[in-house]
């Protein structure tokens, strides 16, 4: 009985029905026998609003630039669809929004209005990386030097370095960082959105060289990005592409961007 009641309640929350439609259908389409200060359809609408609005507010907080680019009303439409199609699967909201960039990318393929802002998905992906960087400031002196120095040279060559949890990488065909900056500062005139970028998102605490007080977006050249991408992909130390860049694993460790390593097979 309890299981049935909760399923029926959830069905009401996920229904697209509005009170006006419900009234036209005789006032209440719910099989649940309830009482309250208003007709059942209005009470379920109240719970439905709480559900959608609370998750939309979460998305608006994480994606302010995406919101500004399409306007609050259209962002709410995209977000309502996200809330329906991408369930919240745990109580904490910290991870909610992780697939928003992909959601927009899919809309770009199918929705004419979204297709007119083809860079929107990558701007959203960038904002998600900034959210992760915000949530995960660098832990000082995290790298386990002692554990590394205890390894033989052969073992060291085979280690797989790990990027610190708040560090993010984004390769984009659009000027996502420039657009982000432009929206944030209100200076969008003359901006060409069709410039590809290699971006590194740095959490607060990154030694750059002084510890960053808040997350920062850092454009990179292709070679430096390639090195970080190879580290993120889990390539062994000895096979990292170091030839075309001044960046080295030692420098990345010093700056806090690499916080750990795994010993290779």
């Amino acid at each position: 009985m309890l299981a049935e009641l909760q399923q029926q309640f959830a069905d009401q929350l996920l229904a697209a029905q509005k009170p006006a439609d419900a009234a036209a259908n005789g006032g209440d389409s719910s099989p649940l026998a309830i009482s309250g200060p208003a007709p059942a359809a209005q009470l379920f609408q109240l719970y439905r609003n709480n559900f959608y609005v609370s998750l939309r507010e979460r998305l608006e907080a994480v994606f302010p630039v995406t919101t500004a680019l399409v306007g609050e009303e259209f962002f709410a439409q995209i977000s309502n669809r996200y809330v329906r199609e991408f369930p919240l699967t745990q109580a904490p909201l910290a991870d909610y929004g992780d697939q928003y960039g992909g959601h927009i990318a899919q809309l770009i393929e199918t929705n004419e209005a979204v297709a007119s802002v083809p860079y929107l998905a990558d701007v959203a992906r960038l904002e998600w990386l900034l959210e992760l960087a915000e949530q995960r400031p660098l832990q000082p002196n995290a790298f386990p030097f002692e554990r590394l120095s205890a390894l033989s040279p052969e073992q060291q060559a085979g280690v797989r370095l790990r990027l610190a949890p708040g560090v993010g990488l984004l390769k984009t065909d659009y000027a996502a960082a420039v657009i982000h900056q432009g929206v944030t500062t209100g200076e969008l005139d003359g901006l060409d959105p069709n410039q590809s970028e290699y971006l590194l998102v740095l959490p607060a605490g990154t030694a750059w060289p002084e510890p960053l007080p808040r997350p920062q977006i850092q454009p990179l050249d292709e070679a430096a990005f390639g090195l970080l991408e190879a580290i993120e992909a889990g390539k062994e130390l000895a096979s990292l592409p170091l030839q075309d860049t001044d960046w080295t694993p030692a420098l990345l460790i010093q700056r806090g961007l690499i916080s750990d390593f795994e010993i290779g097979e």
Partner: protein
Amino acid sequence: MNGLQPYSTGVGLRAPHIDQWLERVRQGDSDGIDWLEIHSENFFDPASREWACLEQIADAYALSFHSIGMSLGSVDPLSESNLAQLKRLVDHFNPALVSDHLSWSSVNGRYFNDLLPLPYTEEALSHFSERVDQVQQLLGRQILIENPTAYMAFAESTISEWQFLNRLVEKTGCGLLLDLNNIYVNSVNLGLQLEPYLAEINWSAVTEIHLAGFTRKQLDDGEILIDTHGSRVSDPVWDLYRRVSAHCDAAALIEWDTDIPELEVLLEEAAKARAIQPQQLETENVARGAA
């Protein structure tokens, strides 16, 4: 530490005020606030800034960990991940109190980010009791269960809310967190009977009291009070607290979650709660007598 001092007063620790609390910790400035309450889920990540800040705040204030995500009333299995993170947080900080709500939040693994109402039936009581037992065993400590706000009542309910809570206490040994605003809002919206509730609830189990504000919302067919925690405590709820605190010395919290104002507003509300407590009145009377 377990439990809070009788008639102690706390406020909710919310993100916009964290820096001010850190500053107060540095300056040793308590403003009569004895303890702070967090939403546990916002502090789950040991690598987060929130966790680091709480380390400093815990040096100066007692803590209460109030969960909104255990979904104790759901028929879904309890989330192992959620409980593991809560246990890590609780084990690390050893707060004075740990609590969650008489509600449910998920179906088939989908969470609705809300505290949804339960029918008050024998089946629900049995189910809820088992879940409270599970959590208490896992955490190795008592938890408190808070009476919820509901905007609808189920026809299949066979027992009253206070009977449900009292029997839950008997079955599990849990404590109660009594939210007076929720009782008031439910009395207006659903006709919940205040007098038998206040007469019958097991006061010896009430360890914490929540005081919060509501907002009025117009529906197509009338008005409803919404438990927004976004305004000052209302006069009817202060009246309830006056009655309750005459015989119940549970720690009281000012809870504010939306449209969060300056910290000073919360401190004013906490001072108002303190002024109502009989202990405070006695102190004032003694002071007047001495003068």
